[in-house]
């Protein structure tokens, strides 16, 4: 797993895998206790070679959470029996499909899929995880899930993510205690784990003294030579100018960090910055056949151009010494291509270190 993540970074950063692994450990050491404090259990008996602070949106590759996730606590070599439990009507998690992916991806047989129906939402055929999360505060729902899990013969049970940050640790703990089974989350894209992590990260950032400026769109940048002095941002209906000594442009949207693209080239790139299209981490090559359309390729692979230290590169080739880029605003860091929040956090960490080191 480590190699899988190291390789794409290596191709962009131009550093040796060892130094990247070292930085990754630093990041883990910094984040894990702080995220734990915010309600994400991070101190489980996870296997370090499998655990990364990442979520690539896949049900089997890795997870943001070492305790309640299949790679954190679930050692597939244990040969324990595993069941996946779906909730009828819950969008985004199909245990039959997930079980077949598990089987084909990790060569593990005997993973069984089950469905249960939550009585409180019986009337509906399609609900969202957040609705289940909301309703699972009411004990009948939680009790029903617990009863369903108890009825299963398997020792380890995978359920979809249904608890928000404030209830997550408590409720998962309750379920494990009440059922006597090990329970893990099967991470599905566009669902609660991302929300939980984002909320926890924002709270950690605030506690560490960061002032978060969320929801702003950079629309222009003033610079002279290799040094930028201010950025003009749009806050929906208003425009503001922010002066800075150093800045990291970090954005985290599913595709290209929120840079809107048209068919041929990136659109809405902050002037005077340069963009790349078609550049991908080396291990995740996007071929013509794997992404069917030019528009999709363009969307997935667009990002702001940087040098090896994440300094931004302008259209005329100037490298700005006090502006850095991190996260999915970098070319090729779009979630559907398989590089997710781990890449966003890791590149932010490296960019911040570079910014601090350069005085």
């Amino acid at each position: 797993m480590l190699n899988r993540l190291v390789s794409p970074f290596n191709s962009i950063v131009g550093q040796e895998p060892e130094s990247i692994a070292g930085a990754l450990n630093e990041l883990r050491g910094f984040l894990m206790p702080r995220l734990e404090e915010q309600g994400l259990p991070m101190s489980g008996d996870f296997n370090q070679s499998h655990c990364l602070i990442s979520n690539i949106g896949s049900p089997y590759s890795c997870s943001i959470n070492p305790r309640y996730s299949e790679n954190g606590r679930l050692d597939l070599s244990e040969r324990k029996t595993i069941a996946l439990l779906g909730f009828l009507g819950l969008r985004g998690f199909d245990p039959d499909l997930a079980a077949s992916i598990f089987k084909s991806a990790v060569g593990r047989r005997g993973i069984r899929a089950y469905w249960t129906q939550i009585p409180e939402i019986r009337e509906r055929y399609d609900v969202s995880p957040s609705e289940v999360a909301a309703r699972s505060d009411h004990s009948p729902v939680e009790e029903h899930i617990g009863r369903s899990i108890k009825e299963l013969d398997e020792e380890i049970i995978g359920i979809p993510p249904i608890f928000g940050l404030s209830q997550y640790q408590k409720k998962m703990g309750h379920l494990e205690r009440d059922t006597g089974k090990r329970i893990f989350e099967v991470v599905t894209p566009l669902s609660l784990p991302g929300h939980r992590l984002q909320t926890a990260l924002e709270r950690v950032a605030a506690r560490e003294g960061c002032r978060l400026l969320k929801g702003l769109t950079a629309i222009d940048m003033e610079f002279s030579g290799n040094h930028a002095s201010s950025v003009t941002v749009r806050s929906r209906s208003r425009e503001q100018r922010i002066t800075f000594s150093k800045m990291i442009l970090a954005s985290g949207n599913l595709v290209s960090g929120g840079l809107v693209t048209n068919v041929d080239e990136p659109d809405q790139i902050v002037p005077p910055l340069q963009a790349d299209t078609g550049r991908m981490p080396s291990t995740l090559s996007i071929s013509d056949t794997s992404l069917g359309s030019q528009a999709l390729r363009s969307a997935m692979t667009t990002g702001i151009r940087t040098d090896a230290d994440f300094h931004v590169v302008c259209k005329k080739g100037e490298v700005l010494d006090n502006v850095f880029v991190a996260g999915s605003a970098l070319s090729g860091f779009s979630l559907p291509t398989g590089v997710g929040l781990g890449g966003v956090m890791f590149t932010s960490w490296i960019a911040a270190e570079n910014a601090m080191e350069e005085g």
Partner: protein
């Protein structure tokens, strides 16, 4: 419609808008088919679009779908365009008809109750205050507090005599004929306006988008024009645990900077212990004409919001939006207060 059709053609079908839609989260797609269906897909089948009227009016116009859209598509605006296209007076929902009738009768979106102006600055000062229908007629303390706060910080204020509803509720229900009529009436009353301040994010956004004016929400005016140094608060009486709701039309149509201003002000008020509820930007159900059209949906969303505030031990929930206060105030599970009213209470 044509422009929005073109703009929304960039949809990559990722489902982010569906996953984040608060109405789907509480009601399910069986009842509400969601932003992608209504804003992106439905306009492509214009001849049959009238059939979606019951569905499309459930959107609270919270702007969350646009916020999470990787392609940055103007989905809420597309939905509002569809509402405009399918508007037909005879087919209006009962609650929406009541809004239209109130407009015809009183030139306000709600029936006037606050018949006596307790605070009535007249004349033409430097700053024009636009009270808005809910703050003036439903929760007059908002109007009184806003005028009170602006007076305390030394603003030379005036209120346009005979002002009428800005038209924001009419835009939400698709009634553009009445909307234009109100705009014309207001513009004659706004002559000599100077700077404009409003209490309502809906009014602020509407005056920007449809009047081509540049009004400030009260929070923006206090933070940007008055400045924090001129806000003097009373000494602490007792500590109170306060949660801040981020109204959709404040954070997502005026801009998220206003939420930062709100926190900056709260941090200066002695005795305020801020508690952060989960997803403070989640819609309370108060917007988009849903309170009038589908009060049950609005109540479900409000219940969820109150639950989240209680969960973190809040004793008071503040909302810088009259519509949110109106909707959340239908529940008595937690004290809810409009932001400026709280500031007025604490300001020296």
């Amino acid at each position: 419609m044509k422009d929005h059709l073109i703009e929304t053609s960039g949809c990559i079908k990722c489902g982010a808008c569906i996953n984040e839609c608060p109405v789907i989260a509480t009601e399910g797609v069986q009842r509400f088919s969601g932003p992608r269906n209504l804003g992106v897909d439905a306009p492509r089948f214009l001849p049959d679009i009238g059939a979606t009227v019951d569905n499309i009016m459930m959107c609270t116009t919270c702007w969350r779908c646009e916020e999470v859209c990787p392609a940055n598509l103007p989905v809420p605006e597309a939905i509002l365009h569809v509402r405009r296209q399918i508007f037909s007076a005879p087919n209006m929902l009962h609650g929406h008809r009541r809004i239209a009738e109130n407009i015809d009768k009183y030139r306000r979106s709600v029936e006037p109750r606050n018949t006596h102006d307790q605070v009535s600055p007249r004349g033409k000062g430097e700053v024009m205050y636009f009270p808005g229908c809910i703050g003036k007629e439903r929760i007059p303390s908002i109007y009184e507090s806003s005028v009170g706060v602006l007076g305390k910080v030394g603003t030379d204020l005036w209120i346009p005599e005979g002002w009428v509803c800005c038209g924001a509720p009419l835009e939400k229900i698709g009634d553009w004929d009445r909307l234009r009529m109100l705009r014309e009436e207001n513009m004659t009353r706004f002559e000599g306006r100077g700077e404009i301040v409003t209490s309502c994010p809906g009014c602020t956004s509407h005056l920007i988008a449809h009047y081509n004016l540049e009004p400030l929400h009260t929070l923006e005016f206090l933070y940007e024009d008055i400045g924090m140094s001129r806000l003097r608060f009373k000494p602490n009486e007792r500590t109170i645990r306060v949660a801040l709701h981020h109204p959709c039309h404040l954070a997502r149509t005026i801009g998220p900077h206003v939420i930062d201003y709100a926190y900056s002000i709260l941090n200066e008020i002695p005795g305020v212990k801020l508690v952060e509820m989960e997803d403070p930007g989640a819609c309370c159900g108060g917007g988009g004409g849903v309170v009038a059209g589908y009060p049950d949906i609005a109540l479900n969303l409000a219940t969820e919001k109150m639950r989240k505030a209680r969960e973190v031990g809040a004793e008071l929930l503040l909302a810088p939006c009259p519509f949110c206060v109106l909707n959340l105030g239908r529940l008595d599970s937690l004290e809810i207060m409009e932001f400026i009213s709280f500031v007025n209470e604490r300001l020296e």
